[in-house]
């Protein structure tokens, strides 16, 4: 039974290669390539007055210097607004090289190409740019105040007002027994993959074609963008994502200026050109996420049941909006999580600042939304003096309410309808996993050691697997090897493993025979990209469909050879056989050979398919009408709408009141991504997400000063958690399959990061008894907080919440 592979914790087949240095990352490609370096704006907002390259011209090894003046045709136009939206009324994007005004520190102004990166940096250092400094806008508060503007023609600094509502929220609030209003802040962090961006391009002059390698999450769309910008026909451009050392969202944005400029230079210079982003460049010229100010008003009854929720968010989108308002939409539409909220209004105002652009980073607006919702739940519980878990339980959407139609529009432009879930069971599992009801004893034991212990929880719902589509090609070779190709890319998630599991299970072949290729436009030209926890859902179903198509054809061909009905055949371990009739079988590889009628026998296996090899049916052509040679099939899966995964995290923190150090004592996760293809990979995704959640809650922040300088743009001062800071994670799975796709899959990629800050804030607040209204929080800030006049808060224990306050 090969189908046993589906659902099994099969070891990741890509790991050995990646771990022992056999991976092929962008910088491993093109050792003879010329290399590029950039002069980037040192100012957050400045007009470029003059660029003097004369000193650089003498550098031995310099090959070319490009400024905006050197860009022609579409290259001289602004970069595309990738995802237009009617509410994005003032979209702005930069140019590949600054045309006139630099809008953030790090924006590229000059590209230098030299024989190697050292020399390119030497030359870049000799280029003198003179600037006129302009007023700088940093942070949502300054953007909202609009005393200064980022873009001259956007006087209120507002790119978009994204508003959605399900009813008359003001009336519902007025009718509520209780209301609460508060404001809170969420800081910036970033994807920060181990490998930064990178581009390598090779122009073939004789063929007038271009091959580009890019460390991207969307090679097919990078291809389209390069073709459009460089005015090449699509078939003359190939884009390949090699091994990619992490993406987490930042590499879904495209085309990055460098993705256009490097191919442009390769074509102009007639030589391979490469650019590998360094860490400082990644900090100041890629993308960040997460900064918001949230103003929340909630109406609820005596039992803590929410009647109305009104949220006004000021969202910092940085200097430009190439990725539209996906992050604001996610915050607006995913904020309510697992709760049944009768009347809801979200208004997200997306504002410009003179900082690095804000585009999706794993979680993509949801951590902020969950922070808003879950802090609201804690406040209601505190106001009514009931257990925080109980107030959550009272508001949950019940299993019989699915499909749950919010009456809102999700980020894929489709209706926001939760497909399935069991939130009460999920919360019950979480309380057991973290021993929520037994926490008082642990707290008392810690107090005896002089430590403050606190507990918090946060459930969430994540829309996953959005369309429009993905496809897959599956082909069985005469050797028995099964090739699986997707246009969708990989950044380390384990696609090579799970797609092979799916294809092997569907086809009935050993997994070792399956070879998976992703993100190579030479192999598969149509794809959307890897983002929004969608690969397993959308590409996974496409792989299954394509494999099924191959199987159908294989059975048809084998049926003729075996003189059997295809319905009586099965494939097991690569052998097509008549069910229940041992010996009546033919290897799948032979079927593959026979599928392609041949004139020429190029090898021993091929002989079987040549024209004189056996009796044929003279009444039919060798390839039937409507059929095609070869044992292969291409298929696509296009989901009706997104699937909705869910989960709940609980965290116990221990705080040392002598140093205010915050240690995570326990981190518990209940996770539901529908049917699981590979539980080990899902758990790995959860672990990685939790690590980034902990980072966002306790360590990471982008520290911009008033002048728009990023003061911690290195790994010395921007603190990502090490393995030593990431807790062990206790995981319990739940599976409510999606009714929207045949495999029942929901996405799992981003889940782990979403409720981190909400749960950790709740736990810290519980430990120290002071209101946490901003995240992240560090020991020095916690020390400030406990000495401030911050509101004192007390949580009720589960045991005294039977009686209402």
């Amino acid at each position: 039974m090969t189908t046993k592979l589906f659902g099994e914790p099969v070891r990741r087949r890509e790991d050995a290669r990646l771990i022992i240095g056999q991976g092929r990352y962008l910088d491993d490609i093109g050792s003879g390539a010329y290399e590029a370096a950039f002069v980037r704006s040192p100012y957050a907002h400045a007009r470029v007055l003059d660029i003097d390259v004369s000193a650089a011209m003498d550098v031995d090894g310099l090959l070319a210097i490009y400024t905006y003046e050197d860009l022609t045709g579409p290259m001289a136009e602004p970069l595309p607004v990738l995802i237009p939206h009617p509410q994005l009324t003032a979209p702005r994007t930069g140019y590949p090289l600054v045309k006139d005004v630099a809008q953030h520190v790090g924006e590229p102004i000059v590209m230098v190409v030299a024989t190697d990166r050292y020399i390119a940096e030497d030359a870049a250092g000799l280029i003198e740019v003179s600037y006129e400094e302009l007023p700088v806008v940093v942070g949502v508060d300054a953007a909202e105040a609009a005393e200064r503007t980022v873009h001259d023609d956007v006087p209120d600094n507002v790119a978009a007002r994204h508003h959605q509502e399900t009813g008359d929220v003001e009336a519902a609030l007025a009718a509520s027994a209780h209301t609460l209003s508060f404001t809170q802040y969420f800081e910036r962090s970033a994807s920060m993959p181990m490998e930064g961006k990178g581009v390598h391009a090779r122009w073939d002059d004789a063929d007038s074609s271009l091959r580009v390698y890019s460390s991207t999450q969307a090679s097919t769309s990078v291809r389209a963008a390069i073709a459009a910008k460089l005015e090449l026909s699509m078939e003359k451009v190939e884009v390949i994502a090699p091994d990619v050392g992490g993406g987490f969202g930042v590499k879904i944005v495209h085309p990055w200026p460098e993705e256009l400029l490097v191919p442009m230079a390769a074509r102009l210079l007639g030589h391979e050109v490469k650019w590998t982003e360094d860490r400082r460049e990644h900090f100041i010229s890629s993308a960040h996420e997460r900064q918001q100010r949230q103003e929340i008003t909630v109406g609820y009854d005596d039992d803590g049941r929410i009647a109305a929720l009104d949220v006004l968010v000021w969202h910092d989108n940085g200097a430009y909006t190439p990725y539209g308002i996906i992050v604001p939409i996610n915050t607006a539409t995913q904020l309510c999580g697992p709760y049944d909220i009768p009347v809801y209004r979200a208004r997200v105002n997306s504002v410009y600042t003179n900082t690095v652009i804000v585009t999706p980073y794993r979680g993509a607006g949801r951590p902020q939304g969950t922070f808003a919702m879950e802090r609201t739940m804690d406040r209601i519980a505190q106001a009514l003096r009931i257990d925080r878990a109980l107030v959550r339980e009272r508001n949950l959407i019940q299993p019989d309410q699915f499909p749950y139609d919010w009456g809102l529009t999700f980020q894929d432009g489709r209706p926001l309808i939760y497909d399935s879930g069991d939130y009460p069971a999920m919360m019950a599992k979480l309380k057991v996993l973290v021993d929520w009801d037994g926490f008082a004893e642990r707290r008392a034991a810690a107090e005896a050691r002089g430590k403050l212990l606190g507990i918090g929880m946060a459930p969430y719902v994540e829309g996953t697997g959005p369309g429009p589509y993905e496809g897959a090609h599956v082909q069985v070779l005469g050797s028995g090897k099964v090739l699986v190709s997707t246009g969708l890319t990989s950044q380390g998630q384990g696609h090579e493993t799970v797609f092979a599991q799916l294809a092997a299970a569907e086809l009935g072949v050993p997994m070792e025979d399956v070879v998976v290729t992703t993100g190579d436009t030479r192999r598969f030209g149509y794809a959307v990209g890897t983002f929004a926890s969608r690969a397993a859902v959308v590409s996974g179903n496409a792989v299954a469909l394509a494999a099924r198509g191959v199987k159908e054809k294989a059975l048809r061909i084998a049926a003729e050879v075996l003189e059997a009905d295809p319905a009586d055949l099965e494939i097991d371990e690569g052998l097509v056989q008549v069910k229940g009739t041992p010996g009546a079988s033919i290897p799948l590889r032979t079927v593959a050979v026979l599928s392609n009628p041949l004139r020429y026998a190029f090898d021993e296996a091929a002989r079987q398919a040549t024209q004189f090899s056996g009796p044929g049916d003279d009444s039919k052509p060798p390839v039937a009408v409507g059929d095609a040679p070869g044992l292969e099939h291409t298929d696509y899966y296009s989901p009706l709408r997104s699937t909705f995964a869910s989960g709940a995290h609980a965290v116990v923190v221990e705080i040392d009141p002598a140093t205010w150090e915050i240690a995570i004592e326990q981190y518990a996760v209940v996770h539901d991504c529908g049917t699981i293809i590979n539980p080990m990979i899902v758990e790995g995704q959860v672990h990685g997400g939790v690590a980034q959640g902990v980072g966002g809650a306790l360590y990471e922040r982008m520290a911009y000063d008033r002048d728009g300088q990023l003061t911690n743009a290195s790994f010395m001062d921007f603190l990502m958690p090490y393995a030593s800071e990431v807790p062990d994670v206790d995981i319990d799975h739940q599976s409510t399959p999606s009714p929207l796709n045949e495999l029942g899959i929901k996405g799992a990629g981003e889940a782990g990061v979403i409720p981190g800050s909400a749960a950790i804030a709740s736990a810290i607040e519980d430990a120290v008894g002071r209101r946490i209204a901003a995240m992240p929080i560090s020991p020095t800030e916690l020390y400030d907080l406990v000495r401030s006049d911050a509101e004192r808060v007390t949580n009720s224990s589960p045991h005294d919440s039977g009686a209402m306050a």
Binding site: R117, W660, N712, D717, S778, P779
Partner: protein, 291 residues
Amino acid sequence: MKPAPFSYADPTSVEEALDVLTAEGEGAKVLAGGQSLLPLLSMRLAAPTTLVDINRVPGLDQISAGPDGVRVGALVRHAQLLASAEAAGVQPLLGRATANVAHPAIRNRGTTVGSIAHADPSGEMTAVLALTDGSVTVATPDGRETVGWADFFLGPLETSVHGPAVVLDAFFPALPERSGTAFAEISRRKGDYAVCGAGVVVTLDDDRRVSSARAAYLSVGLVPEVHDLTDAVVGQPVDSADWAAAGELARGKVDPDGDLHASADYRRLLVATLTARTLADAGAEAARRTA
């Protein structure tokens, strides 16, 4: 993040190294473990014209522990010092502090003397040199001289050594009798530069009463600071000494700056806490060694 052009020399004797340093002038820089210097080069925050790599100079990789103290050669890696039972036997602070230096990969390459010559006030070994009243041996074209720690450290990343010179070794005096030590630091993440760190030495009299309590701090000043906290606990029996009072005394003596990771106030809190904790541990060790 690629260094600006520089030339490279790999002398095989101290004299040859000094010749190169003399010939190349101010632009020349000595390279030992490179754990601080090379990142500065890559970020082009430093652009020496010549790197004088002393790794091929024989004889500089020795630790010699004697009754008077421990001499650590210029090429001794942190990991080597951390593993030296002889060194720890003579001056326990060496192992205790070295264990807090960054991560194993950095300890395997970085040198103790290089870290001292770098004169970073957040460095563990600068603080230990100060606390133990140690010194360094500096070779110049004029000969070799011993420079006490207080004369050596002038400011952040600044020492009294100018012109062609190689720091050959650091000498850490032995722990006195009836004494104990402790070392602790608080960092944002394990292995990071300390937000605040403290090393202490407690010495008792024959009646197991505190006769001396001294502390050195990391990341609280521009140069390593040693503070005598004896007044807070002098004459007190070691088992009931008021270490918290010594912590408060220290809190009042330091004048740290704030930065992204810690306010000045927070650093003062950590000085008080770490002082009290390390003194208690050091006092207990001194008591064991006095018994």
